[in-house]
């Protein structure tokens, strides 16, 4: 089992530093709307949820990608997107229950978090420990299930919205 990005929304203050660092690392610019993770903030309820690819055990994006551009590494289980093959059709964005794939509004291309080759910049700069990068033991699995339930119950489905900006997450009451 390899490492996963573990999210604890209770510790997230909504500072957006992770998204700034991500865009600086991946795009050499400070532009959170291009980051490969998001923070969804319900400002009237105090709920702040970082949203990033969860490397699902059975990733629906892999199954749905018409170009076979998304694959799951057999050994590590990490879900990867091959930018060469990806046509940015955004089907993965529509089917992902966790808001993993993002649309870069500048390049108009779809991206997935790639763990920065084993050392995610977002995790190392998170000031509160709301993001962690670790192998999942029993406790971490429980936490992850709790997080996923929260995400599923309260957000989620990244829709294909033509407009630029920060993309959007569809609330699914189901």
């Amino acid at each position: 089992m390899s490492k996963r990005i573990l999210v604890d929304p209770d510790l997230c203050t909504g500072c957006m530093i992770c998204t700034q660092v991500c865009s600086l690392t991946k795009n050499r610019t400070c532009n959170p709307s291009r980051a490969r993770l998001r923070i969804i903030d319900w400002e009237h309820s105090g709920l702040t949820v970082p949203v990033v690819c969860q490397d699902c055990v059975e990733p629906v994006c892999v199954a749905c990608c018409p170009e076979a551009a998304i694959t799951q590494d057999a050994e590590s289980g990490i879900v990867l997107l091959d930018a060469e093959r990806c046509t940015s059709c955004r089907i993965c964005m529509g089917v992902c229950p966790y808001g993993g794939p993002i649309l870069d509004p500048v390049e108009r291309r779809v991206y997935l978090c790639d763990h920065c080759d084993g050392s995610p910049a977002c995790v190392s700069s998170c000031p509160t420990g709301a993001l962690d990068y670790c192998e999942l033991g029993a406790e971490e699995r429980d936490m992850r299930m709790h997080y996923l339930a929260q995400v599923r119950g309260s957000l989620v489905r990244l829709t294909r919205r033509a407009g630029g900006g920060a993309g959007s997450l569809e609330r699914s009451e189901a």
Binding site: I17, Q20, R28, G46, T48, E170
Partner: protein, 662 residues
């Protein structure tokens, strides 16, 4: 050459009268000279307004300006400035705010937005990168700040999820207080961050501008992104070594009030006397989690939730130590009540400090028998009356009943009421001060700083409150540490260790250095909590900013450049005020101002009862003027000083208007 790294590179000019807008390229020279935010703001305000400008007329301007570090990864850099000629003080009106607006404005490509004219009907400004439109806001007029932000979101989200779309837009706007031209009105960023002082919300109301909303996808380009990221990481690590860092992260300003002796010293500072009934950690049961402004690793803010009792269901953020101190003055220290009161101010778009000062004034008048129920429409303004406080807060926003007097606190309100009420309406340059404190701080230098402030009474000019012995002893600001810092920085072990009511020959030098740091924070867009204002050992100061700015903009900024830029900003602000008639007398604490202005001692507050003499204050003020290059008699920047600052045009302008420059 245009400035487009660090800076976004464009200024947006909007005319509400004609409905036109124009985009101006930010020139490199101008950007370098005035740096950003507060520096841009005062230069534009000086050029666009003057003594002939009616603050609530079409000629006044609204300037929203961010700094070159705003919205970047630089620590705690979310700040932007909201600047107009103030309808409250009639002078330079400036308020700055964290939240997320400044960052989002820059992501859309603008360093500043300048709004002129007056709209025919309520209007809001919608900006999405290059798209700039004025939208009819008649459906928003009358709505509170929270409803109005949501309604703007609903106008544009076109089927997108509400929370996610809300996250992507920044809003600055007013509530009913600004619409009703209450001088306690602020401009709210999002739902809980306020550009508070100066009554600037009323300027927005007078122009019919309900809000500015912005959504940006362009981001900010940096000259040397890897170096910039490294500098940020180094600074984050450095903070871990500061004695104030963890406590600030845990408590924010709420921790300044608490129960132990050293923490309640803050109430000395604010109130001029120690308060009874401080409940240590009163807010702890309500805190659900820490919250933060954009890009801030400190997260001093808290999300509160009242789960039971009379105020059950109150949820919101932004309660500051100020509010807790007000609770002590009101004799209503209950945290659930204060959470409700704070939310009410945020929703109505009221500056909580102005409201609190006005109500404390009214309570004093009630106690003295100067007003009674026949003045207040039956509201009993007695200490501890929570209902009365909430009722008055609403009245201040809508200028209802007695609220019409309180909305003009301190100067115009007292004038309207008469009956000697002005004796209790403490202020400096028209900006209200806490009544019991009357503009006096914890130390001599802090008192100076409160009163020479260019926007009137306020603690954020300088003051070095963190470098005061015995104030935050339990948080690690020990006498030993102050001794060490004094030795390191000024070669004098006593300068901070003995910083109190006695005079120290180096203290004014230290204060001026401190002021440069405070002003530069407002110019680059960094929160003062990330600076040595609150992190006295490892906080950011000019040398760190020169590195950050150089890596961000590609321009070479030295510490000396930044010092000159801060000095230029202060001189320009003082000149703006001089043009509006401010003189030396306006740099004194309230009771001394009274004595000097009216030629008679203040009837309630005796010079003999304060811990310093008039001579001591005079001397330190003289020395501050001398250090800054201002005329001792008038307090106005001399021609030499203005020339040093590259402000010859300002010197000429003042001279043309018959203002004598030393």
């Amino acid at each position: 050459m245009s400035a487009s790294q660090g800076w976004s590179g464009k200024l947006l000019w909007v005319d509400l009268t004609t409905g036109h807008h124009e985009v101006q390229t930010l020139s490199e020279d101008w950007a370098r000279t005035y740096v950003g935010a507060r520096g841009f703001g005062i230069r534009l305000l000086y050029d666009l307004t003057g003594p002939e400008t009616e603050p609530l007329g079409a000629d006044n301007v609204i300037i929203i300006a961010a700094g070159p570090l705003t919205g970047t990864l630089s620590p705690s850099s979310s700040r932007c400035e909201v600047i107009s000629k103030s309808p409250l003080t009639g002078i330079y009106g400036r308020a700055d705010v964290g939240g997320a607006f400044g960052a989002k404005m820059k992501y859309a490509g603008y360093d500043a937005i300048i709004v002129r004219g007056q709209a025919e009907h309520p209007t809001y400004l919608w900006i999405e990168d290059e798209k700039v439109i004025l939208v009819d806001a008649r459906h928003l007029w009358g709505k509170d700040v929270w409803q109005s932000r949501q309604a703007i979101c609903d106008d544009h989200r076109a089927g997108s999820n509400s929370a996610a779309f809300l996250n992507s837009i920044g809003t600055l706007g007013i509530g009913p207080a600004g619409e009703h031209l209450s001088l306690a009105a602020c401009v709210m960023d999002g739902v809980a961050h306020a550009a508070g002082l100066g009554g600037l919300g009323a300027v927005w109301g007078s122009k019919g501008l309900k809000a500015v909303a912005v959504r940006g996808s362009r981001g900010i380009d940096l000259a040397r992104p890897e170096e910039f990221t490294r500098l940020c990481q180094t600074q984050w690590t450095r903070y871990q070594g500061d004695p104030m860092y963890e406590s600030t992260r845990k408590w924010g300003t709420l921790g300044w009030v608490g129960g132990s002796d050293s923490r309640s010293a803050i109430s000395d500072m604010m109130l001029g006397g120690r308060m009874e009934g401080i409940e240590e950690d009163a807010f702890v049961p309500l805190i659900e989690k820490s919250r933060t402004c954009y890009g801030c690793q400190i997260h001093c803010d808290h999300f509160l939730h009242v789960k039971d009792g009379k105020y059950k269901g109150t949820k919101g953020e932004g309660v500051e130590g100020w509010v807790q101190i007000q609770g002590l003055s009101f004799k209503t220290p209950s945290a659930p009540f204060l959470a409700r009161y704070n939310n009410l101010c945020n929703q109505l778009g009221l500056n909580v400090a102005s409201v609190g000062n006005a109500i404390i004034w009214a309570m004093e008048l009630w106690k003295q028998g100067i007003i009674d129920a026949s003045d207040t429409g039956g509201v009993e303004i007695t200490e501890g009356n929570e209902e009365a406080i909430l009722a008055l807060t609403r009245q201040i926003a809508y200028r209802d009943g007695f609220g019409d007097v309180l909305a003009d606190h301190p100067v115009a309100g007292a004038r309207k009421l008469g009956r000697g009420s002005e004796r209790y309406a403490a202020h400096t340059k028209g900006q209200s001060a806490w009544v019991p404190g009357h503009g006096i701080g914890i130390t001599l230098i802090y008192t100076l700083s409160l009163n020479v402030n260019t926007r009137g009474y306020d603690h954020l000019m300088g003051g070095m409150s963190i470098l005061t012995p015995d104030l935050r002893e339990e948080w690690g600001i020990t006498r030993e540490l102050l001794t060490r810092l004094g030795e390191q920085r000024y070669g004098d072990p006593a300068i901070f260790r003995d910083n109190a009511w006695s005079y120290h020959p180096l203290i004014v030098q230290a204060e001026c250095d401190f002021e440069h740091m405070m002003v530069m924070a407002d110019m680059v867009g960094t929160c003062k909590f990330a600076t040595q204002y609150n992190q006295p050992v490892e906080g950011i100061d000019l040398p760190e900013w020169s590195d950050f700015l150089s890596a961000a903009t590609g321009e070479d900024f030295t510490t000396t450049d930044l010092q000159s830029a801060a000095q230029r900003t202060i001189a320009l602000e003082r000149s703006y005020n001089a043009r509006e008639g401010m003189r030396r007398v306006d740099d004194y604490p309230f009771f001394l101002w009274w004595e000097k202005k009216l030629g008679e001692p203040h009837p309630l507050y005796k010079t003999s009862e304060v811990p310093f003499t008039l001579e001591e204050y005079d001397r330190i003020l003289d020395e501050w003027y001398e250090m800054r290059g201002y005329d001792l008699r008038t307090g106005i920047a001399t021609r030499d000083e203005l020339t040093r600052c590259g402000l010859e045009d300002v010197a000429d302008d003042l001279a043309t208007r018959g203002i004598v420059l030393g």
